[in-house]
């Protein structure tokens, strides 16, 4: 564990920037997001949880897969340096781990041959994640529903705790240990720091709302699939994609070609969402999820049923972004409560 006094944080980030392409929370106009760092002074260490989720660092809203001209296919060159993310909260760090199960090799086992997405892997595999422990969780946070907590280090390589006067860097993974071990010129964290860290963790835990038990939700969801409860839950949903696009775990996408047909252009991968009717529109014109409530149900089925079947975890980490942006205040926590309260 090393200790970085707050006034020296820019120095630390600058050193990091020599070998890594660093992303950190920043303000862009009216919103906050993870942006490539050009000047460490531009990092906003006080941002609680960015408005836009950090999934876009590794899974951009629109990503050029390749360019083509005539019969030639050209790979798109990207920054060759590995990515370092600074200031990621625990919920987001775990989100990236979930996405790695889908796109990367986290779910690769000897008996299954999972497809690994090269575009994800080239960015995520070599990356290092500096996570920030939350000292002041918000009322919309519910990471504790998923067995995590504001000071949880899962999904991070190095956990960073703000003790007021300093950042304490606590390595979590092997990669993190190796990196922290390689650093020179930083003091070890003192006993006093450790006491402060523990106190902060305790305070933060206290600030969290009550845990809601979600045992058995995946079977429950499956049983309720055809039940009218979805009419009630889905009644107010207006079917926009705000929740899915700011979600740190939603990862559906569409692939399109842009440019002159067959001549010159690029193939891009763009975020898509089950909330849009065109997501499931078939060539015949038939849409299996024709009604707004069908599409809403799909989003929650994916999060709390299908994903558990496939990857053994909920596809939600309790970051609370969708709770904040939903234009009709359709609160994911209420949906879970309603589902759990419903007799199958």
């Amino acid at each position: 564990m090393i200790r970085i006094e707050k006034e020296r944080i820019d120095e630390f980030i600058r050193a990091l920037m020599e070998t890594w392409s660093v992303y950190a929370p920043a303000r862009d106009g009216k919103n906050t997001l993870f942006a490539p760092v050009e000047d460490p002074a531009g990092i906003d260490h006080g941002i609680f949880n960015t408005d836009k989720s950090p999934k876009e660092i590794f899974f951009p809203h629109s990503e050029v897969l390749f360019e083509f001209e005539g019969g030639e296919i050209k790979k798109v060159e990207r920054d060759a340096r590995p990515i370092a993310v600074w200031g990621l909260r625990g919920c987001d760090a775990r989100s990236l781990r979930l996405l790695d199960k889908v796109f990367g090799s986290a779910w690769q086992k000897p008996d299954n041959d999972m497809f690994e997405d090269p575009y994800w892997k080239e960015k995520y595999d070599d990356s290092i994640i500096f996570g920030t422990a939350c000292n002041e969780p918000r009322s919309t946070c519910f990471c504790n529903w998923f067995g995590a907590g504001p000071h949880d280090g899962a999904g991070m390589d190095v956990k960073v705790v703000d003790t007021g006067e300093a950042f304490i860097l606590d390595p979590v993974s092997e990669k993190g240990k190796k990196y922290i071990g390689s650093l020179k010129g930083w003091a070890e964290a003192t006993k006093k720091d450790v006491t402060k860290m523990k106190a902060a963790a305790k305070e933060a835990d206290k600030a969290m709302g009550e845990v809601f038990g979600m045992d058995g939700i995946q079977e429950k969801m499956a049983d309720l699939f055809l039940k009218p409860v979805w009419n009630d839950i889905g009644a107010k949903c207006v079917n926009c994609g705000a929740c899915a696009f700011i979600c740190s775990t939603c990862h559906c996408f569409d692939v399109q070609d842009e440019g002159k047909k067959g001549k010159k252009g690029k193939r891009i991968r763009i975020w898509d969402t089950c909330m849009f009717p065109i997501f499931t529109m078939e060539a015949s014109g038939h849409n299996p999820r024709d009604m707004s409530k069908d599409r809403l149900r799909q989003r929650f089925m994916h999060k709390f049923s299908y994903f558990i079947n496939n990857y053994d975890e909920h596809l939600c980490t309790g970051c609370g972004r969708c709770v904040i942006v939903c234009p009709v205040n359709l609160d994911i926590r209420e949906v879970v409560r309603e589902v759990m309260a419903c007799e199958a």
């Binding site: 994609g241 849009f276 234009p327």
Partner: protein, 322 residues
């Protein structure tokens, strides 16, 4: 109007069988929020509220795939602010809603709160408690409590609103006020018009580059009800789906033209935007043109034809090459 009056009115409508369902607002899950509720029994009516957090335009629930709501035999009641009632009127004149089947219940609006403005008042700190009356708002958080006039935090669309109470209703809870004058309604538009062309483009680009193409603006809009929106058409696919600036701008410009003479400037789009884009500026520019050129103000009368479906033979055509 008191909340009690509101609930009692809805209860009696339901028990007397005058309506089968009432769409209204209930308390939301975060401070300063409300959420649309669907009341079909008298007991449920106790969850109804009306205050400055009731920012959704509930007329949207008569459109899109809920169009059937107002077409089948159910009698629907709906709570409306001034702007919401204009949306209903528009939908009625466009034959989307049968006037006979909807019971319009007006409630007196003093403007709805824009939570982004409230959060700005407390330097971005988290708000844990929110209370309001028709004049002021009080917020509490960790280690602060602040009270300020409601007018300082209402949505931009409410600041210039001159029709706060329903223009068309079956019953009104309280006393409906007469509309004011909209002489100075478009000062913000006029300010923007004064900038030079390049500056305007740069500002637009800056503003709209934040768009994530979630279509929340379109989906909360009661005037946007095409069966298949042009952005969802893929044969031909009119515009790209990525958040590239020209595609994004074209989406917003065309959406504005599609609601030209149909937009009631309720501001629901702007409040729904997760990226806080000032969407209404374009709508208001269009509304100003529609008012000045065609003398039409959307949704103010059941007998009015929507401006873009109408014409006069001898109209101003100063924009046509001489």
């Amino acid at each position: 109007m008191t909340v009690k009056e509101l609930r009692e009115t809805v209860k009696s409508l339901l028990t007397e069988g005058k309506v089968d369902l009432v769409i209204g607002w209930g308390k939301g899950t975060m401070p300063g929020t409300s959420t649309p509720v669907f009341i079909d029994t008298a007991e449920k009516a106790d969850s109804l509220i009306f205050d400055s957090t009731c920012r959704n335009n509930l007329s949207v629930y008569f459109t899109k795939d809920r169009r059937a709501l107002a077409k089948d035999d159910k009698k629907i009641g709906v709570l409306v602010k001034g702007c919401d009632s204009r949306s209903l009127v528009l939908n009625i004149t466009e034959k989307q809603i049968d006037r006979e089947k909807v019971t319009i219940i007006g409630v007196p609006c003093n403007g709805v709160v824009d939570m982004k403005k409230v959060v700005g008042k407390v330097d971005g700190k988290e708000i844990l408690e929110f209370t309001d009356d028709s004049k002021k708002v009080t917020v509490k958080g960790r280690e602060f409590e602040l009270t300020f006039p409601l007018d300082e935090v209402i949505s931009d669309s409410c600041l210039t609103c001159v029709r706060r109470d329903a223009v068309e209703y079956d019953l009104f809870i309280g006393e409906a006020r007469e509309p004011g004058s909209d002489e100075n309604a478009y000062a913000e538009v006029e300010e923007f018009e004064k900038l030079d062309s390049e500056e305007r483009w740069e500002r637009m680009k800056q503003e709209y580059s934040a768009c994530i193409r979630c279509y929340a603006c379109r989906n909360v809009c009661p005037s946007c009800y095409c069966n298949v929106c042009f952005v969802d058409q893929n044969d031909p696919q009119w515009i790209g789906k990525s958040p590239e600036i020209t595609d994004t701008m074209i989406f917003h410009i065309i959406r504005n033209l599609h609601v030209a003479g149909r937009c009631v400037e309720c501001g629901a789009c702007e409040r729904a935007c997760p990226m806080d884009i000032k969407l209404l500026l374009l709508n208001r520019k269009v509304a100003k043109e529609v008012r000045d050129r065609f003398g039409s103000i959307t949704g103010t009368g059941l007998e009015n034809k929507p401006a873009m479906a109408d014409f006069k033979e001898d109209e101003n055509q100063d924009f046509i090459m001489g």
